[in-house]
Each structure stands twice: as structure tokens, then as C-alpha cells.
Amino acid sequence: MESSVIKTARGADIRLYSGGTGPALVYLHGVTGLMTDDPFLAALSERFTIYAPVLPGYEDSTGQDDVDDVLEFALHGHDVIDALALPVKPILAGHCLGGMIAAEMAAIAPNEFNQLILIGALGLWDDNLPVPDLFATLPFELPALMFNDAQLGQQLLSSGMDFNDPEFLTDYLVGNANRMGMAGKLLFPIPERGLARRLYRIKARTALIWGESDKLVTPAYAEKFQALVTSAEVHKIPGGHMVHYESTAAAVDVMVGFVGG
């Protein structure tokens, strides 16, 4: 996976991970960001040419002050794709927060995408199925919320973290404030910004991939998306909210099958 920085027309410097072979696929990460040597991207790159931009506020991507509301998040996404200058329309995929942004992008510019893949996407809200409060979740509680296998989650999310080291703690708090401060613009206090009223506009064929035991965005939300998007199929596979890290091969298979079909 190659790491580079691209500049958007708005002036943001965006960290980009790219590589692989196959159809072009833009992947928007979720609220926890990408992982070091991200295992999902590595698996995906065997079947797709991946472009994974990092959201402003995450890692060293800049421009968070220019992206405040749902329209600006969606336009930022389009700015990034414009900056990639791809010869073909890419497949657009997103997980969690990235799924919410991807859905907004496809609703705002329905002719830009033929295929859309949403994995455990946020963006809808049902009073009877409240999404847990990510912003009141302590770091050590996060793996159990995000993963079906909390131990795997612990390993992937918290490796190398030592909260007793004051220097680490300050760095962590700064990074967390940058990341979650940015995510909060779309997700706080309730991760809903009117997407349900715009989903009808999506023309892309859509795959909805959900973890069977997603505790953050429960699997019932897949059907809620399906009911609002013109052409959508639901695929539930074993795992929690981070299903593509827990059932990586199965997730990639679904994506390959969907794109081929």
C-alpha cells in the first residue's frame, strides 16, 4: 500500500493510501480511522485498486476547519475524488462514519457513482434502536462496543497504548480530540443529519454489508437503508460493527460478488 498526500481544490492536504489491482474503489474509513498496515485494505487491494483517503483531523490530513456540516463533508469527499483524477467512475465504499459520508455523496451527485457499498453505515436514527453514545464511551470500553470479539478489538484498537504514560496520554487526548472532534460534527449528539430525506436520490446499485452482531449500528438498520435506497441488497456476515476486520475474507467476497454481478 502506497502512502502519499494529495491536495484538494479547497486546499486540504489529505493522507492517501492507495494500491492493488482491479477496479478502482474509493474507501472512506469509519470513526476510529484506519489501522496501521490496515489488514482490511491489504485484503481488499488483492481484488481492487484501492484509494483510501484519510478524513481531515485524522492522522495528518488537514482542512478540518473548512468542513463543518453535512454538505461540507459530502463536498469534501467529492473534492478528494476530483483530486484523484481517476479515468473511470470509482466504486464508492464507506464504513460507519465513512458510510454515512459515502451515502451523502451518492445522494448529492447521483450520476457520479454506479456502485455504492455501505458497511455498518451511520446516518439513520430510530428512537427504538438508539445508537450508543460513542462520545461517552471510555477508550477501554471501545473494543467491546465495536467488535464482536472484544479481544481481537483490543488487539487491533489498543495495541501499544499505555495510558499510564503521561506523554502518551497527552498525545492520545490531542489525537482523540482531533478525530472525534471532527467526527462529532456529523455524529454528535445523535448521528443523524437528514440522510433519510435524501437517500431516494441514489442511483447507484447499492450493497449494504452488516455485521450480524453489530452493537453500534444494529443490523436492523440495514433494512432501514434498504427501504429508502432504490436498488439495494443486504448482506449480513458474522462480526460486530468492525465486521470487515472480523470477517475480512467474507466481506471482500461479498464486495467482489456485488461488483461482478
Binding site: 480530540a177 472525534m180 472532534g181 471532527m182 462529532g184 460534527k185 454528535f188
Partner: protein, 424 residues
């Protein structure tokens, strides 16, 4: 009376403050509930008992004026078991008609939460006019618990909204013709503040918790910076030193009236009596009232990166406050969490507080936790009569500095303050 007001203006200011805690949190509160704030279930609140509690607390604030305190203080919290004033302006309005001398120290309105914030300009103006110019206007950013978790403000928007609200309120007070305000969060075609306050520039107090930007904001505007901490004056020293360093660097004068501090104070006939009669209420406050779930303490994005890099984090977790309930009485006093004892002991500790923090405003937390009315009044009376008079003249070189206090009408008009029913 004029001379009395004059005398008050030229001395260290004491504001009698009541946080208005719910005094009936169950003994096993800490075990049964994760937080006193945000998600504390309101089945723990009994409105009939609440009627008594509110009126007792308001009575104490009125009594504080009788005792000669310069100000009586109220503040704003939401969904909070130790702070039952979601609308401090309602409390101040109730007090404005029952008092005639004390400043109404509203500390304050979380201006980012009022929509549109012109509401604060209007209500504060109303309070200032009703009270004859006795308003001290507090503009806190608001805690993350109140502002983000309870009222739903996006953390990253908290400070920009605050800054915009501040600009709008100040302009609304200053302008004499309607004007249009094109803010990011507030679009108003006709900003037109009726009434406007009696005091041309009501004194503005900013309660802060160590945000560096807040120091500069206070200095740029000549606002009072007040540190409201529950861990006492000794642990506040480092923060206040940082503030004064900033004042000095800015080239401004070092008037102690630029700063204030809140301190838990208990006065009894003897040191022994202070512990004997008041320890249980200290324990109630620190054990039950300050039981805040760490997940609510600091929404990511609420603090600025600059402040986080300076290592400033929340003051509200047990780790930050310290495990007071396991400390001996002597240690509580030695470490400055509380100032307590006989009048002579309290006087000595108060002098240390005033000079070590360089403050001209003291917010006296003389009601603590579930303290009874009788004990509260007794301690307050001893403080007012035997301690306060000896602390008035601690900053003689700044005796002329009245920039940071109220400028009321010389005569509180045609009306008399309505006596409290069954008043003391």
C-alpha cells in the same frame, strides 16, 4: 446607605454562593449510579421536597445580604444532582425583589446554549434594571457535561458559538439602533435589545478551568477571571500563577480584582466543632455530589488542542479532585480543600488564600452538600461577623479599582425590598 455601598466597592468582595445541591441523594448513590450529572435519573428528585429546598436556599441567599456579603451568587447547570439551577436568571429574579444592596452575581449564563443568545442580553438587562444596577454578568463557556452531553451542542462548535454569542450580546447592549447580525450560527435581521442595562458595561466574570484562550479573552476585554474549583486554594496555585504570568506578559495592571476564586469554607466556635458538626456534609458533597462519570467529563473536541497540549484536563473526575472522603479532617485543611475551623483559624487560612492566589473576589461556598439550614446560617454568620471584616483591606493599593464590580444606582429607587416571609 451611599457610604455603605462606597465601602463595599473599595474592598475585597465576598459573594455568598449556593450551588443548590439536592440534599437527599441516597447513601449508596455512588454504587447504584454512574454519575451525578447528565444521566442521573430524576426519580431521585421529589418536587414537593424540592419546594422546601429551593425556598430554604433562596432564604439563605437573602440572609447573606443581611449579613453584609457583597454579592449573592447563582449559577447554571443542567441534569445535575448538585446544581439545581438550570435557569440561574429565575433565581436572580426572585432575589432581585427581596434584596436591595448585594450584587446579583449570576455566574453565569452559558451563552452558547441560548438560541438566539440575544436572550441573555435581554434577561441580564432585565435583571440589571429590576435590581437597580446590581448585576454581575457571568459568561461561562459551560462545562462539557452541560453544554455537550445535556444540551447537545457539537463539541467542536462550543467555542465558536460562544465567541459569536459574546459578540452579539455585547453589541446588543452597546448599540442604540437596531442592527443586523450575520453570524455563522445566528442570523438576525433586527437585533434590538429592550430593555438595556442600567450599568453601561455590566461587570463580566468568566468562570474558567484553565483554558489558555480564556486567560487572553479576559485580558483583552478586562473581564474578571474566576477559577471555580472544588479542590481548594492550594491546588489552584499553579493554575492561578499561570494566569498572573499571562497578565504580566500582556502588560496590563496586576489588580487582584481581575481574579476570583471559589472556596469551601466552614466556620464554627472552635476547630473541634467545625469537624464535629460539618464533616458529614463535606463527605456528602465530595462523595455523592462530585460523582461524575469520566465519560461525560470532556467530550473530544470541547477543549482546544492548545489547551490539551498544555496538559489541562477536566477538574471533575475523582482522579482530578482527589479522594476527599478518605482524607482526615486535618489533611483536608492542610491541603486546602476546605478552609475550616474557629474564626481565628479561618481568618489565617483566608489570608493565605487571598495572597497566594492574588484574588480580590471570593466566592464563599458556605453551604456544602446536605448541610442543614441552621448550620449553614450559623457558619455564614460567624464568617460575616468575625472573619470578613478583617479581610476587607487586604489590597489597599488597589482600593480605587472598581472596574470589576457593580455600579448600582445610589438610591435603590422608590421601592423597598419585599421582606422575606418569616424572615430571620
Amino acid at each position: 446607605m451611599v457610604s455603605k455601598i462606597k465601602e463595599r466597592e473599595l474592598a475585597v468582595k465576598f459573594t455568598w454562593f449556593n450551588l443548590m445541591p439536592w440534599p437527599h441523594l441516597p447513601e449508596n448513590f455512588r454504587e447504584e449510579h454512574r454519575s451525578v450529572w447528565v444521566d442521573i435519573p430524576n426519580k431521585l428528585y421529589d418536587p414537593v421536597e424540592g419546594h422546601k429546598v429551593y425556598n430554604t436556599y433562596l432564604g439563605q441567599l437573602e440572609y447573606a445580604e443581611e449579613l453584609g456579603f457583597d454579592g449573592i451568587g447563582v449559577n447554571e447547570h443542567h441534569s445535575n444532582g448538585y446544581g439545581m439551577m438550570p435557569s440561574p436568571n429565575i433565581m436572580a429574579a426572585a432575589l432581585s425583589r427581596r434584596t436591595s444592596k448585594a450584587a446579583l452575581v449570576v455566574l453565569g449564563n452559558s451563552i452558547a446554549l441560548y438560541n438566539p443568545p440575544i436572550r441573555v442580553a435581554e434577561e441580564f438587562a432585565m435583571l440589571d434594571v429590576i435590581s437597580g444596577g446590581r448585576l454581575v454578568a457571568g459568561f461561562p463557556v459551560g462545562t462539557s457535561m452541560d453544554t455537550n452531553y445535556v444540551y447537545g451542542t457539537i463539541p467542536a462548535e462550543t467555542r465558536p458559538r460562544y465567541a459569536e454569542a459574546h459578540e452579539l450580546i455585547k453589541r446588543a447592549w452597546a448599540e442604540e439602533e437596531p442592527f443586523a447580525f450575520n453570524g455563522k450560527y445566528n442570523k438576525m435581521r433586527y437585533v434590538n435589545c429592550w430593555p438595556k442595562p442600567i450599568q453601561k458595561d455590566p461587570p463580566i466574570f468568566i468562570p474558567g478551568g484553565g483554558s489558555l484562550e480564556t486567560y487572553d479573552f479576559c485580558l483583552e476585554n478586562d473581564y474578571n477571571y474566576s477559577y471555580l474549583s472544588f479542590s481548594g486554594y492550594l491546588r489552584a496555585k499553579q493554575l492561578m500563577d499561570g494566569y498572573w504570568e499571562r497578565v504580566e506578559k500582556s502588560g496590563r495592571d496586576m489588580s487582584p480584582y481581575r481574579a476570583g476564586f471559589a472556596q469551601t469554607i466552614i466556620v464554627a466556635d472552635s476547630d473541634e466543632d467545625a469537624e464535629k458538626y460539618y464533616r458529614e456534609h463535606i463527605d456528602y458533597f465530595y462523595n455523592r455530589c462530585l460523582h461524575v462519570y469520566p465519560g461525560f467529563a470532556d467530550a473530544p473536541g470541547y477543549r482546544t488542542i492548545k489547551t490539551l497540549k498544555a496538559g489541562v484536563t477536566t477538574q471533575m473526575t475523582r482522579q482530578a479532585v482527589g479522594n476527599v472522603t478518605e482524607m482526615s479532617w486535618d489533611q483536608l485543611i492542610r491541603d486546602g480543600y476546605i478552609i475550616a475551623g474557629s474564626p481565628a483559624s479561618v481568618l489565617e487560612q483566608m489570608k493565605k488564600l487571598i495572597h497566594s492566589l492574588r484574588v480580590g473576589n471570593i466566592f464563599c461556598l458556605l453551604h456544602v452538600g446536605n448541610m442543614t439550614d441552621e448550620k449553614t446560617r450559623r457558619s455564614s454568620k460567624l464568617f460575616a461577623e468575625e472573619v470578613m471584616p478583617h479581610l476587607r483591606n487586604e489590597w489597599p493599593e488597589y482600593a480605587e479599582d472598581n472596574r470589576f464590580w457593580t455600579d448600582p444606582l445610589p438610591q435603590i429607587s422608590d421601592r423597598q425590598a419585599v421582606p422575606a416571609v418569616g424572615g430571620a
